[in-house]
């Protein structure tokens, strides 16, 4: 997917500063958003999906690996943390940690299998394993099948922050999102991120330079799975629900769409894509099947005419103006 990405990894200091400033603006906007009339529950949903999309982008945009089964990490972490909070009565921070760890473990197993093949096969293998996980969660008793795990307690974070207040939990979610976002930014701009990009561009050359490509790809996969799991775990605690929707293949397609629409391989693209798609779903919810159809149309338009995505196009436009 290298041809469409426009952002230079390991940009000069000038760019680093610009991105940090932009991150600061984003954080400030998100912090005041509930006060200008934007519904915090909507914002939290968008933030969870933005984190999910950023995790996915780490793998696709910077590793060049298209996983078509990322819903399994979102869903697995959701189920595990929901069960930990409800079934075992663990406090939310442990429930989230446990869910994230479960996805990391799953990511290690699935990643080790999937990187044995490349390109299109990689996508098909991840999709097939995710479908297997879907049937597992459908049949295993602790997930309650079609009903899912409902009314998960939010509890008290660290024993003293009461999460039942919507505003409190909103800022907790925002803090988690920003921390993960900066972590991803750091990973991309580390030597590890550079090698990952080199492998994406030309794997045989990277191998000939002595890099163990499989180890790098596996680590990228595990990182991506872990962060996707974090998104799923937080989502389960916030919405007090873990259900089959989050492990279904259409969820895997949705995250691909968010990243594609926002801009693959850009830092802010997945965030923009997630907010646009979640807003779209919110407004189109009463129209039933039209959500699926419009989702499909966006896919087709993005692939045919708009491969750099919103952020990619904007930054190309900015550069062409000499910015």
């Amino acid at each position: 997917m290298a041809t469409a990405t426009g952002t230079a990894v390991g940009a000069p200091r000038e760019d680093t500063r610009r991105i940090l400033v932009a991150t600061g603006i984003m954080a400030a906007l998100l912090a005041v958003a509930p006060f200008v009339g934007i519904y915090p529950v909507f914002l939290m949903k968008a933030l969870c999906f933005a984190l999910f999309a950023c995790a996915f982008n780490l793998l696709l945009g910077f590793g060049g690996l298209l996983s078509f089964g990322h819903a399994m990490f979102l869903g697995t972490a959701g189920y595990v943390s929901a069960y930990a909070a409800k079934g075992w009565g663990l406090p939310p921070e442990f429930a989230i940690l446990l869910g994230t760890a479960a996805s990391a473990l799953l990511g290690m197993v699935v990643g080790a299998l999937a990187i044995r093949r490349q390109g299109i096969y990689f996508a098909m293998i991840t999709l097939a394993i995710a479908q297997m996980m879907y049937f597992f969660f459908l049949q295993t008793p602790f997930t309650h099948g079609e009903d899912g795990i409902q009314s998960v307690p939010r509890g008290r974070l660290f024993g003293f922050i009461d999460l039942s207040s919507t505003m409190t939990i909103y800022y907790v979610v925002l803090a988690i999102f920003l921390a993960a976002f900066l972590f991803i930014y750091r990973v991309i701009h580390s030597p590890f991120g550079q090698v990952l990009k080199a492998i994406r561009e030309n794997e045989p050359r990277a191998i000939s330079l002595g890099y163990d490509a499989d180890r790098y790809k596996l680590l990228a996969f595990v990182l991506s799975a872990t962060l996707a799991g974090l998104a799923g775990a937080v989502k389960a605690i916030v919405f007090q629900l873990a259900s089959l929707t989050d492990v279904h293949w259409s969820m895997s397609g949705e995250v691909v769409l968010m990243v594609l629409l926002g801009g693959m391989g850009t830092i802010f693209g997945p965030v923009v894509g997630a907010f646009v798609i979640i807003a779209l779903e919110n407004y189109l919810a009463p129209f039933g099947q039209w959500v699926t159809i419009i989702t499909g149309v966006i896919f087709v338009v993005c692939v045919l005419a708009f491969r750099r995505g919103i952020v990619g196009e904007l930054s190309a436009w900015w550069k062409s103006r000499g910015g």
Binding site: A123, A128, Q131
Partner: protein, 287 residues
Amino acid sequence: MQALYGQLLIGLINGAFYAMLSLGLAVIFGLLNIINFTHGAQYMMGAFCAWFLLTKAGVGYWWALLITPIAVGAFGALIERTMLSRLYKLDHLYGLLLTFGLALIIQGLFRNEFGSSGLPYQIPPELSGGINLGFMFLPKYRAWVIVASLIVCLSTWYVIERTKLGSYLRAATENPALVQAFGINVPRMVTLTYGLGVGLAALAGVMAAPIYQVNPLMGADLIIVVFAVVVIGGMGSIMGSILTGFGLGVVEGLTKYFYPEASNTVIFVIMVIVLLIKPAGLFGREH
């Protein structure tokens, strides 16, 4: 024992559909280097086309077997000309994303129109009823599906491996530029190949219509299983696709009898095992 034979028969039927669908995927992948995610939707369109012909136009099953693959195949050729052909110079993954989007659009439109419940399609009168084999009752239609799909698969194999047209096709898979230089119209061949693969999916859809109900989502989950079948077989060989398809259908049928809880997942588990032992697939070649 009755139940075991019953499950074996269902397994063979499912295997017939796996074989026809993975064959179409392999043919398309061979020349276009695209994994056709729309395959499941095109299979569903085949079933709907047959249903339309019967209920709206009074055209029966046998004519539907002929008309449907041509109609849906032409629709596929149109998609190839207008959209897929723009992506050949790009990373192969864009083809997957485009066809995924198309599948969402097609399935969404059909669900808008027909809802999610299935529509019945009568078994043609010539094939209703069954034969008592002594150890089991064999419905005639199911026997027909197995035989017909074998014929379809083997003739596709024959066309690709043994005819002149097939040799052009295989040559263009290896080196399209050189084949073009010999004066063969490769872009047209690519369009026809995509149409052929789509037509195979539609034909499978017609054959499936009397067995499963005609439903907008009938291809959505099936296509994922077929992907696993393709990974297990490897897309290198046509015969490999056919054998893997039927074989996995039977394995799934046996699982339904001996350990029903695993019947949904057994193909995916086999995929994992094959990836561990022979990553290129049972019949695949490492490039």
